[in-house]
């Protein structure tokens, strides 16, 4: 269906359902309960981030997952995309369409330049070159390019900005032909409340489109060539294939994905700053991809989701939340557990992330996707074993 195999279509359907129903699925607890206050992740600002970083890492995975070239400067494209979008808001109007188109185009052009230079080297040298470019962009945005980036203050839209194309009655924030991004309806069901926001659904649709495109790329001859580059460049050359243009296209596509993510960030909140391009932001993308499962289709979506969840939810858990959650225990034991858990939550969420990352890299090199496959294998061992045997038999019979 949709040009996908049954298996790919299932993955695609899962992502579509998750994305469209996120406002419900991520709010499993009643609004005013202690659990709900802490663990409900279904609020628009966070869900937007799930979707946007999902797009970013899906794009990053086209480069890193397929070709094995580790870009350590991908946040630069995100930042450039954001700046481009905010400039469109300042010059034209708050309509997000030209803003997002320009952010993709500008990030694409930017990645042509960076890719052309960086791809002259491979391995660690490629990573260092991309890192150098990203840090250079960051430093420039802070200093020389202040007229373009508004330096430390960050770029934002002021009432004095021209907005040449703004219509008289248009919303005073980013909108899609008059439909404001911030507009939302809340559905109340008893103690539960689910918020459906226009901005989130824009991000979700973009994620779905981005994910669909990535499946098509993975399964295309182009995707196969990229995997061939990762596998054996010597054979690639002696097969009469020129690896360079393939690599450069992959780099540009991946940069454009990042530009789209940057444009969407600006469309959700029309301001941006240079810190979006800082090397830790690039590092986060790499961590997300590895955590989810490099080179798998759905891994990037999972990885970015888990990290954004930890960053926003686990970081909210403070001592009093812990005391509340463990109130059913006798005082002494309660205090003991609070003391033990406390370093891992709240501001200590990086510790949790670090440990999780180490566990995954050591025990599940294929990331969360491999974890899922192993779980599925544990529960469905009998059935998968028989089907595998059937398949083998079916394959061998014609050859004999």
């Amino acid at each position: 269906m949709l040009g996908l195999t049954r298996k790919d279509f299932t993955l695609f359907a899962i992502v579509v359902v998750l994305a469209l129903l996120a406002p419900v699925l991520l709010n499993p607890f009643p609004v005013n309960s202690a659990l709900g206050q802490t663990f409900n992740a279904g609020y628009p600002a966070l869900m937007q981030r799930f979707a946007i970083f999902g797009i970013l890492v899906v794009g990053f995975n086209i480069l890193f997952g397929l070709t094995g070239y580790l870009s350590f400067g991908h946040a630069a494209f995100l930042g450039v995309g954001s700046y481009a979008a905010v400039w469109m808001f300042k010059l034209l109007s708050f309509n997000i369409v030209p803003a997002i188109i320009l952010s993709v185009v500008v990030a694409g052009l930017f990645s042509v330049v960076i890719g052309f230079v960086s791809l002259r080297r491979s391995g660690i040298y490629f990573s260092i070159l991309t890192l150098a470019f990203a840090q250079m962009s960051y430093a420039l945005a802070y200093s020389v390019l202040t007229p373009l980036t508004n330096g430390e203050t960050g770029l934002q839209v002021y009432p004095s900005d021209p907005q040449y194309l703004a219509a008289a009655g248009a919303p005073s924030g980013p909108h899609f032909f008059g439909l404001p991004m911030a507009q939302a309806t809340t559905l109340r069901l008893g103690d539960w409340a689910f918020t459906f926001q226009v901005g989130y659904y824009l991000c979700a649709i973009m994620l779905i489109a981005a994910f669909y495109l990535s499946i098509r790329i993975f399964r295309s001859p182009f995707g196969m060539m990229l995997r061939a580059i990762k596998s054996n460049q010597t054979r690639m050359n002696y097969t009469g294939l020129n690896a360079k243009p393939y690599m450069l296209r992959a780099f540009i596509i991946s940069g454009m994905y990042a530009g789209l993510a940057g444009g969407l960030l600006a469309a959700m909140d029309p301001l941006t700053g240079a810190e979006r391009m800082f090397w830790t932001a690039s590092g986060e993308i790499v961590v997300m991809a590895i955590l989810g499962g490099v080179g798998t289709l759905i891994g990037p979506v999972l990885g970015s989701g888990v990290i954004k969840y930890l960053e926003n939810i686990v970081s909210k858990i403070n001592e009093s939340v812990l005391h509340n959650a463990l109130a059913f225990l006798p005082d002494g034991i309660e205090n003991f557990f609070v003391t033990v858990i406390h370093p891992f939550v709240g501001e200590g969420w990086h510790l949790t992330l670090g440990l999780l990352f180490m566990v995954i890299v050591i025990f599940l090199p294929g990331g969360l996707v491999e974890g899922g496959q192993r779980l599925a294998g544990l529960f469905g061992r009998r059935s998968t074993a028989t089907t595998a045997a059937d398949r083998d038999a079916a394959r061998q019979s014609p050859a004999e």
Binding site: G3, R216, A228, N232, R235, M236, L241, A243, Y246
Partner: protein, 252 residues
């Protein structure tokens, strides 16, 4: 005039004269073996032919066109393909994909952007790849990841990948090095079959005399970077200079 004309090739690495005035002509539709002791310059010569090394002087003409200064992928597109000492395959891909890639390279040239249509919709490529796998008796392993193949099967797969490109000249660098006797026999048989069915010109660098004498029509013996003698296998077997320089060490 041979399909490959090598004239006056010189190559120095610092103080070492790796190739000194090499002249060699490989005739179409022959199997031409290049033998010689270690350090005779065989591998250096091969690297010059595929564009990996640029010689200090001399010329290499393939079918009348100069090969020198071209990149390996351009030389491959001209119709020269190479089989390595250790099989170079796409180890992470399936056997079928390994053969599909050269099918695309043959049809679309060194680069073509087709990023949306799935590979499985390319029916002609699929048929071609399967026919090739059938020819080397590997169709039953089409869905196997190539890294899990045996050494002999990897060699077979690499040959299939080269054959798909319909090369006019195949360069083989010690195709049986490090192989067990049975695998060596299989490889010899495979090369004979390819020869018989497709009549591809082959240049083989080889240490194993059994392989050389069971395949070659012409033999060039190299020593210290220059061709010493060239002749038919029967000539070479009895040539006094050869026995002295090389074969004297081994029993034939």
């Amino acid at each position: 005039m041979g399909i490959l004309e090598i004239k006056g090739i010189n190559k120095r690495f610092g103080g070492l004269q790796a190739l000194g005035d090499v002249n060699l002509s490989i005739q179409e539709n022959t199997v031409h073996a290049i033998i010689g002791p270690n350090g005779a310059g065989k591998s250096t010569l091969l690297n010059v032919l595929v564009g990996k090394l640029i010689p200090d002087s001399g010329s290499v003409l393939f079918d009348g066109q100069s090969v020198l200064g071209r990149k390996p992928f351009e030389i491959a597109q001209m119709g020269i393909s190479r089989v390595f000492q250790t099989p170079e395959i796409f180890a992470d891909l399936t056997v079928l994909e390994n053969v599909q890639i050269p099918c695309f390279a043959k049809r679309d040239g060194s680069f073509r952007m087709h990023a949306l249509e799935p590979v499985r919709h390319e029916r002609e490529i699929g048929r071609q790849a399967e026919a090739m796998l059938d020819e080397v008796n590997m169709l039953g392993k089409a869905d196997v990841i190539a890294s899990s193949l045996s050494r002999g099967d990897k060699r077979r797969l690499e040959m299939a990948m080269c054959l798909v490109q319909e090369p006019r000249l195949m360069l083989l660098d010690e195709p049986t090095a490090g192989m067990a006797r049975a695998d060596t026999e299989n490889t010899i048989q495979l090369l004979k079959d390819i020869r018989k069915r497709r009549g591809i010109t082959m240049a083989i660098i080889e240490h194993d005399m059994q392989v050389v004498f069971s395949l070659a029509d012409r033999i060039t013996v190299m020593a210290q970077g220059t061709p010493l003698v060239e002749g038919s296998p029967d000539d070479i077997k009895v040539h006094p200079k050869v026995r002295e320089a090389y074969l004297g060490e081994t029993q034939i």
